[in-house]
């Protein structure tokens, strides 16, 4: 059993196993299920993620604030040189697709939340293409991500209403960064460095959805969240370390979240939601 990153790394070290395996063994132990059942459930989650990351069309979402971003980014990256490159644009496009699917009442896999459901799928699918990973390696990435998410839930929060966007998209990016690092063959320590870096990059970000809906700015924060994950994983794989250990970064994120004013925690009373345009849109939507 592990309650934090330090304990998880100790298990990996003592048993000489990778992060995903430590997560899997603990899950078998905690839930009294078999390895096969867990891998089957993980594969099911992956299939749902793959479905939600595909082209969702141009239809408008429930609130009508977003829609069609996947196609725009795809057309853009396919037709010209881009600033962040093909990989980054492909990842963003997928994260945007998941957000649109979610906001259109499509099927998604919360990872860890519905509002941040684009980050992990976009990272896994795009990372697997870049790293030539098969399904088995992607499933290992998901297990790694889940272990990181579990530690964040147990020691902090992943709810925007409790900790702001840094908790939702921060946790998702940390999970995705750790997964990518694992898939690229990084050591367990490197996965947690990647996760720590990702949370630090987004620390303090508020949750301020227009009209209280999971649409804007959520969708774009999923796009930037997957870039956060990709860059944090690259840094960790290059040997860059988080100066502050993962567990302390999680604690800091939680402290910041608790100190955040309620206006900035999913109530749609602050930030982007409270701008004149944001308020006018909310009025139109609520009728």
């Amino acid at each position: 059993m592990y309650n934090n990153g330090k304990e998880l790394l100790a298990i990996c070290r003592e048993q000489n196993i990778p992060l995903w395996e430590a997560a899997l063994l603990d899950e078998i132990d905690q839930t009294e299920t078999t390895r096969e059942e867990i891998l089957e459930k993980t594969a099911l989650a992956l299939r749902v993620m793959q479905g939600s990351a595909g082209d969702p069309g141009e239809g408008k979402t429930m609130g009508g604030l977003i829609g069609g971003e996947y196609r725009k980014v795809k057309a853009y990256k396919d037709s010209r040189k881009t600033l962040t490159g093909e990989t980054a644009n492909r990842a963003m496009m997928r994260a945007l697709a998941c957000s649109q699917s979610n906001a259109s009442m499509g099927r998604i896999c919360a990872a860890p939340t519905a509002g941040s459901c684009g980050i992990l799928p976009a990272a896994l699918i795009t990372g697997a293409e870049e790293l030539d990973c098969g399904e088995e390696e992607i499933l290992r990435g998901i297990l790694t991500a889940a272990a990181v998410g579990k530690i964040i839930v147990q020691n902090a929060t992943v709810a925007g209403a409790e900790g702001g966007c840094q908790a939702e998209c921060g946790a998702a990016a940390a999970m995705a960064a750790a997964a990518l690092t694992e898939m690229a063959g990084g050591a367990p320590e490197q996965s947690l460095h990647a996760a720590a870096i990702a949370i630090k990059n987004i620390m303090g970000l508020i949750c301020d959805p227009i009209a209280g809906l999971v649409e804007s700015p959520c969708s774009k924060r999923n796009a930037s969240g997957v870039l956060n994950a990709l860059s944090s994983a690259d840094l960790a794989l290059a040997g860059v370390e988080s100066i502050i250990p993962f567990d302390e970064v999680v604690d800091a994120m939680y402290t910041v979240g608790l100190a955040m004013h309620p206006d900035f925690k999913e109530t749609a009373r602050g930030g982007i939601a409270a701008t004149p345009t944001g308020k006018a849109l909310a009025k139109t939507i609520r009728g």
Binding site: E27, A111, A159, G212
Partner: protein, 230 residues
């Protein structure tokens, strides 16, 4: 420290968006409430409290509630088109803004009528991450999550009913996870809510139904994620 029971609490739930509390939780609440109606529901009132009342349209809470009454699970892709499905099946529905008092911000009270004219009232809250708590059924205060196989009895408040039911479960190798007993007045009507670790075969249910003090029995199965057809 908060305890995470399973990695699939983190990677999941698999659900229809956009909100685990306002969409998935709403569908789950309605699915459980619908099961209580004990027959085909032809009219449903949804009394919406708090955040449910404020944002139910943008979050698809309305469609999710109707879908749940029709028996759809929170991950069913037909959630989006549940209004059309309701029309097809002859289910009429109404969303009523309400103040249900000092309850969780995401609370809904269901008033359901079946084709045979039976009325059932259920109240429940969506407490986050798609998790729900049912708090009242037909005037009985209750508290259960719908995550387990849940057995709900209505029986005469006489000696030996708890022991008899527990005995039948034991004979059928069913382990009780939680048990909650309440009654209206001494010697009148009582209710048990029993969450079990495994499913009850029809045989065990029949044995419990046959107990002389039993007025009615409901068995609500949890939503099993593994059964999703993707």
């Amino acid at each position: 420290m908060k305890k995470v029971n399973s990695l699939f609490d983190i990677i999941g739930p698999i659900m229809i968006g956009p909100s685990s509390s306002h969409t998935a939780g709403a569908a789950k609440l309605a699915r459980i409430a619908g099961a209580f109606a004990g027959g085909e529901v032809v009219s449903a009132e949804f009394h919406l409290h708090g955040s449910f009342r404020e944002t139910f349209r943008g979050h698809g809470t309305d469609r999710a509630l109707v879908a749940g009454i029709l028996g759809l699970d929170p991950h069913d892709t037909r959630l989006r088109t549940s209004f059309a499905l309701a029309e097809e099946k002859g289910l009429s529905y109404e969303f009523i803004p309400a103040d249900l008092g000092m309850v969780h911000p995401n609370t809904v009270r269901f008033v359901l009528k079946t084709r045979t004219g039976q009325t059932t009232e259920v109240t429940g809250s969506s407490v986050g991450g798609g998790e729900v708590v049912i708090t009242e059924v037909n005037g009985f205060e209750v508290r259960f999550s719908g995550n387990y196989n849940t057995l709900i009895t209505r029986h005469k408040d006489v000696e030996g009913v708890v022991a008899a039911v527990a005995g039948i479960l034991a004979e059928n190798h069913i382990n009780i996870a939680t048990l909650n007993l309440s009654r209206t007045h001494k010697g009148q009507e009582a209710s048990m809510i029993i969450e079990t670790d495994s499913f009850l075969a029809e045989e065990a249910l029949t044995q419990i139904r046959k107990l002389p003090a039993m007025i009615s029995l409901m068995n609500i199965q949890p939503v099993k994620v593994g059964e999703i057809d993707v």
